[in-house]
């Protein structure tokens, strides 16, 4: 299925003289769950930003669902969970989701908002300002925000930060359910066992280059940990 595919060829990104990404080729098939690992500063977030159209690559092409990752028609099909929540502090949880629903042109943003608040277990706090939320609650609402338009592509940058044990388990289950429904997922995490367990493919970036990319099948967590240390190690 071409529609749900992500293709990077020769993607590079320079910030001034500094090269954050160099000649990255990556093919994520529809329905893949790719987990991207790599040390701090490897360029993982930069790659994700390119794929969701937040920044342009300085060389190469990045295509999402057959379209240039920067093109307007693909925007509505991508859900992004990043370090920043993209939520308005002086709106309530419900109002935030309703607003984003409107931005994504939903028919009934209020119904969708209510539904998602149930999903992330924030229905009781729906009328509280986001300002009053704890870090983990904000993160949960941010997850709901990313899912508002039921996107085909889900991009996650260290989404487990701030979640307590219960929420982390619940979120893992939610992610795996979304993946089963055919979503293409790209996730960045530093948690190797968790990442490997969720993935269908794993890749490692180091110093802006892709240094490892394989199917997860038969690649046990322990074995991958060894590989990671070998490939990405000091």
């Amino acid at each position: 299925m071409y529609k749900g595919r992500i293709e990077c060829s020769g993607v590079g990104k320079k910030y001034g003289d500094f090269t954050a990404l160099k000649n990255v080729d990556l093919l994520i098939e529809a329905g893949d769950f790719l987990v991207l690992f790599g040390p701090n500063g490897a360029g993982k977030t930069t790659l994700l930003k390119i794929l969701c159209g937040m920044t342009r690559p300085t060389s190469g092409v990045a295509k999402v669902g057959g379209a240039d990752s920067h093109s307007p028609e693909i925007r509505g099909k991508i859900g992004v969970i990043s370090h920043k929540s993209y939520l308005y502090d002086s709106l309530t949880a419900f109002e935030n989701l309703e607003f984003y629903g409107q931005m994504y042109g939903l028919e009934n943003p209020r119904a969708r908002a209510g539904e998602l608040l149930e999903t992330v277990e924030l229905a009781q706090r729906k009328d509280d300002m986001v300002r009053s939320f704890s870090r983990g609650m904000t993160q949960r609402l941010s997850i709901a925000r990313a899912l508002v338009a039921d996107p085909d592509f889900i991009f996650l940058d260290e989404p487990f930060t701030g979640l307590d044990h219960h929420s982390a388990v619940a979120f893992q289950a939610l992610l795996s359910a979304l993946h089963k429904r055919g979503k293409t997922v790209l996730m960045i995490t530093h948690d190797i066992p968790l990442g490997v367990a969720a993935s269908t493919r794993v890749a490692i970036l180091k110093n802006g280059r892709k240094v490892f990319d394989e199917k997860t099948d038969g690649l046990g967590g322990d074995k991958f940990m060894k590989t990671y240390l070998e490939v990405a190690g000091k």
């Binding site: 937040m54 990043s82 993209y86 308005y88 109002e95 409107q102 931005m103 994504y104």
Partner: protein, 227 residues
């Protein structure tokens, strides 16, 4: 087109709602505009005889100061938690964001004016609204041009470190011709001049508005791209 207007309305309602919840800002700006008027009273030794001559200048300077404060804020609220990125990631038409921000800024300035102008009339005992309809038109045309260009520059400067300084520094030179025409049209109306004295300026103001609006709409797309 209909979708664009619907999205613009959603962004505007969101802004009005958050602004209402943090309404101190409107109060502070209003106090500031009033203070400008009061200070001029002392600075220029204004008396009932010379007041009409100063009226237009004082009013437009206070609009300019208050309006610039409002502009600085309009995109700053989007910076909290990087919401502007969230907006940019959504498929919403960029034009809708511009229209909403423009409308919000215009409403903000109009509210300030609705309070400041009567305060001015009472304080200085000069009826600047003698020719009510024409004066309203001049204010409105001046406001529209000011806020169109202002919204654009506010968006451009929101990511810059020195945005508080850069917004007025970039905006004022571009705005000068419009302000001159607006202020002189207001002065003519206060002075009870012949319509020939202000009709030409009103037409020029309208022309400025159209040009500013079209250019801003076109440029805004590119600005959003690099936010």
């Amino acid at each position: 087109m209909k979708n664009t207007l619907l999205s613009a309305r959603a962004v505007l309602m969101k802004d009005l709602r958050t602004e209402w919840r943090t309404r101190e800002f409107l109060g502070h700006t209003f106090m500031f505009a009033l203070l400008v008027i009061v200070i001029f009273n002392f600075a220029f030794k204004i008396n009932p005889q010379n007041a009409p001559g100063f009226a237009s200048g004082i009013l437009w300077i206070s609009f300019l100061f208050a309006g610039t404060l409002g502009l600085g804020r309009s995109f700053l609220v989007e910076k909290e938690n990087d919401c502007i990125q969230g907006l940019a990631l959504s498929p919403v038409d960029r034009t809708a964001i511009f229209l909403a921000k423009f409308a919000g800024n215009l409403i903000f300035l109009l509210i300030i004016q609705v309070i400041v102008v009567p305060a001015f009339i009472v304080l200085y005992n000069v009826n600047v609204m003698e020719n009510f309809f024409m004066q309203c038109l001049v204010f409105l045309l001046g406001d529209v041009g000011f806020m169109t260009l202002g919204t654009l520059i506010a968006a451009m400067s929101v990511n810059l470190k020195a945005r508080e300084i850069l917004l007025p520094v970039l905006l004022l030179p571009l705005l000068t011709p419009l302000l001159i025409f607006a202020a002189s049209a207001t002065a003519s109306l206060v002075g009870g001049d012949d319509p020939s004295a202000y009709l030409g300026r009103i037409r020029l103001l309208a022309a400025f508005d159209v040009i500013f609006f079209v250019v801003s709409l076109l440029v805004f797309e590119y600005i959003m791209d690099e936010l």
